[in-house]
């Protein structure tokens, strides 16, 4: 499994059209024997749980504290800036350099390589506007702050506020955009100018809503009683879905239409980043959030709302946050391998194996009590993989 999935990903780099057809053929070959077995059915309770995983797409709320959010001109400007290498210190790295659209806006590296070597996996950007916190550690409380951070991070784009502002102050399309927003570009400080650029990019990122998937179609068919439609959903995926919402307890954290509760958990992955070096995860993220001058409590927030900023005021910092990571969405998972905060698992099968064979001694006795080893056969593990794959669009135009 691991081998062919890795090869499939490599193939997708060359041409994702070909990948889709090839992967489907492989899936069909794999599940064909089991199709002959008894049909999987869902109880009323299970149907209700499946219903709660949709509908899709969801409406995306405005980016908190970002007056440009939802403005078409800002989205267009942001789409250009997303591809602009001049945002980086070297002038050679753009957002898109790591967030590649054909890979779900992520990349196949285990950990990112920007201006320097990073210690975390590049996260996909589809549906990012639905998140409450941003980044593996949730160190940003808005999409625009999360956009600004990599621009200024010495590991990532290694830009600086004054360099970025100076490079774009002469750009007519940026000047026009600022003026159309009712501001005088010359009156903006370098910081305000750069924040404006990050808010424009965030406005673009908010528009990245992923399309419907085979799972969404199955959910619709199940709820509407369309038996012919239900029959088109692979039997192995149905079995995997049943386990996902049932005994495997996946849905406890990967909940709702975006398959994420938006919060942070320790699932027993190591978080050493080198000899004597540890990535503190959510603990470091909350510390970073509180010190961030660009958080929702800071002066760069537009129209600050009491309820938007409440999460930032009230989030608690505790012992258990050390080594927690944000629950990622599972949509478009097939596009974003490798997996986990450090890209340490190459395949979906590897992810399933991690949970099934989880080492309870890695978890604190006061830790997440739903994480327990499961005795799952090879077929049962692959059922879960087949289900997870239906959360991605296998083929696109």
């Amino acid at each position: 499994m691991g081998t062919w999935l890795t090869r499939a990903r490599t193939a997708s780099l060359a041409g994702h059209h070909r990948f889709g057809a090839w992967a489907l053929a492989l899936v069909a070959a794999f599940i064909a024997p089991t199709e002959l077995k008894a049909q999987t059915t869902f109880s009323d309770d299970e149907t209700a749980r499946i219903a709660a995983l949709g509908p899709w797409p969801q409406s995306v709320p405005a980016d908190p504290g970002n007056a440009l959010s939802g403005q078409p001109w800002a989205e267009a400007l942001g789409a250009q800036l997303f591809r602009d290498t001049r945002l980086s210190g070297s002038g050679q790295i753009a957002c898109i350099s790591c967030h590649s659209p054909i890979q779900g806006f992520s990349e196949p590296r285990r950990v990112a390589l920007g201006a320097k070597q990073h210690v975390r996996n590049t996260q996909g950007l589809w549906d990012i506007g639905l998140q409450r916190w941003f980044g593996w550690d949730g160190g940003a409380d808005s999409l625009w702050a999360a956009t600004l951070r990599p621009m200024l991070s010495e590991l990532e784009m290694a830009g600086s506020i004054d360099h970025i502002a100076n490079r774009f102050r002469g750009e007519q399309h940026v000047i026009d955009a600022i003026r159309s927003h009712g501001q005088d570009p010359a009156a903006l400080s370098d910081t305000e100018f750069t924040v404006f650029l990050s808010k424009s990019i965030a406005a673009y990122l908010r528009t990245l809503t992923s399309p419907q998937t085979p799972f969404d179609q199955f959910r619709t068919d199940l709820l509407s009683g369309n038996l012919a439609g239900q029959a088109r959903y692979p039997e192995a995926a149905k079995r995997g879905l049943k386990r996902f919402i049932g005994e495997a307890n996946c849905v406890v954290c990967h909940v709702g239409p975006k398959f994420s509760n938006g919060e942070f958990h320790d699932i027993g992955r190591p978080f050493f980043t080198g000899v004597g070096q540890v990535d503190g995860g959510r603990y470091a993220g909350i510390q970073r959030l509180r010190q961030d001058p660009f958080n929702l409590l800071g002066q760069h927030t537009d129209n600050p709302s009491d309820s938007d900023a409440r999460k930032t005021r009230t989030v608690t910092l505790g012992q258990s946050n050390f080594g927690q990571w944000r629950t990622p969405s599972l949509r478009n998972l097939s596009l974003t391998a490798p997996y986990m905060h450090d890209g340490s698992i190459d395949t979906l099968r590897g992810v399933v194996d991690h949970y099934a064979d989880i080492d309870p001694t890695r978890l604190h006795t006061k830790g997440e009590a739903i994480l327990k080893p499961m005795t799952l056969s090879d077929v049962e593990r692959n059922d879960l993989v087949q289900f997870l794959k239906t959360l991605s669009v296998a083929e696109r135009d």
């Binding site: 009491d306 999460k311 009230t314 989030v315 997440e368």
Partner: protein
């Protein structure tokens, strides 16, 4: 905005700048209580209640005093946003009864019928001038206000306000638009009557151009706990002005010291209206009529009532109510945990005491996030002069 102030060259602006960086309020994220909103029949037809609530939240309103012609609009909003709406009872069945209601027995019957059905914090906003305030129907309205623990919200001249106040020693008046009087005249009225408060709805002369005149600053300084804000959504279109009204108020509130700015922005309205509103709505809470109340303890009676249906990982608010004895000086905290998971919430929710009496306490708790489905437990810790009490009750979240 501050940027422009700092770059302005005028001497006055420089003084403002200096003050704003020393003792004056950073009002950018200041919540606002809007004490003058109407959602009348024509507005209901054009803007659904969900949109109205979204506009209120976009304006970062802490709460809104809403009165409508007819009352239906107020009830529609209360149903979907009970954490946000403080209902007022307007004696108008339709718009356009402002000049006739005080001689109209039908208007009085309408008020009496609604008082028997619903719960309110105020009667008003009504229009009443001069000696009309002593006509039989306004006198009956004052009596009803005292009987039902309601504040009068009067769009009146100073004479009518004084006549209303004279009718009963307990009646309180919220003076709509501050009577459109100047700050000196308003100050004189506030000095004369300690049962009088005043809203600033539709007062373009307050904070004109983003700054406050010395006369208004003097009024707010002399009466820091008596003035409050209001938009006055007298036409359907004006509902869409709510966010801009709040933003504009934040701009001129920045000229005031933090304490006074917060008072005008929301605390004065809160301190006037919430005790009335909570006392009036709480008569049911202690009787446990709410279907979704979770009972943590019978004696003292401790209940937690979510204001909206809790959903996994969605922030929501709840009312925490305690009915017992010797609750004066009590401190209380609500928390949630998943006992079988070994963890609780990832947030420390914000508690606001809404009513604080010897035998009853109501606290609004905001920012509750239950981030996983399963069995949760509410936990309440109550500290009183008598000691510390804890209570817990499990509930299921799907």
């Amino acid at each position: 905005m501050q940027r422009h102030i700092h770059r302005a060259a005028g001497a006055a602006a420089l003084i403002l700048c200096t003050l704003s960086t020393t003792s004056h309020a950073d009002t950018r994220s200041l919540p606002i209580a809007d004490a003058h909103i109407h959602y009348s029949h024509d507005s209901v037809e054009l803007t659904p209640p969900e949109r109205v609530v979204a506009l209120m939240r976009a304006a970062n309103l802490k709460f809104a005093l809403v009165s409508s012609s007819d009352d239906n609009g107020t009830q529609l909003l209360s149903d979907i946003a009970p954490d946000l709406i403080v209902p007022g009872l307007r004696p108008y069945r339709r718009r356009g009864e402002t000049g006739t209601w005080f001689r109209d027995e039908g208007a009085l019957e309408y008020v009496e019928t609604l008082l028997a059905t619903n719960r309110y914090a105020t009667i008003g906003e009504f229009h009443l001038f001069g000696d009309d305030a002593d006509l039989p129907i306004p006198r009956r309205i004052v009596a009803l206000a005292v009987e039902h623990n309601l504040v009068l919200h009067a769009h009146s001249d100073a004479e009518a306000v004084e006549r209303l106040l004279a009718q009963h020693p307990d009646v309180k008046v919220l003076w709509a638009h501050s009577g459109f009087d100047g700050p000196e005249a308003v100050a004189a009225m506030l000095a004369k009557h300690d049962r009088l408060w005043a809203d600033l709805a539709f007062r373009s002369d307050v904070g004109r151009g983003g700054s406050l005149s010395p006369e208004w600053i003097a009024l707010f300084t002399a009466f820091p706990d008596r003035m409050m804000l209001g938009t006055d959504t007298y036409t359907p279109e004006r509902m869409y002005f709510l966010p801009e009204h709040a933003s504009n108020a934040r701009r001129w509130l920045a000229a005031l010291p933090t304490d006074i700015a917060e008072g005008v922005a929301w605390r004065n309205a809160f301190d006037l209206l919430m005790p009335h509103w909570q006392a009036n709505r709480a008569t049911t809470a202690c009787e446990l009529s709410s279907d979704n109340a979770v009972v943590l303890s019978e004696s003292p009676l401790i209940t937690v009532t979510p204001l909206t249906e809790p959903e996994v990982s969605q922030p929501f608010s709840a009312m925490l109510q305690i009915c017992g004895s010797e609750l004066h000086n009590a401190a209380v905290r609500l928390d949630g945990s998943m006992p079988s998971h070994g963890h609780g919430m990832n947030y420390d929710p914000e508690h606001t005491v809404i009513a604080d009496g010897d035998d009853h306490m109501t606290v609004q708790v905001d920012g509750l996030v239950l981030h996983m489905p399963g069995t949760w437990a509410w936990q309440v810790e109550l500290r009183t002069d008598a000691g510390r009490t804890t209570a817990t009750q499990a509930f299921s979240l799907n």
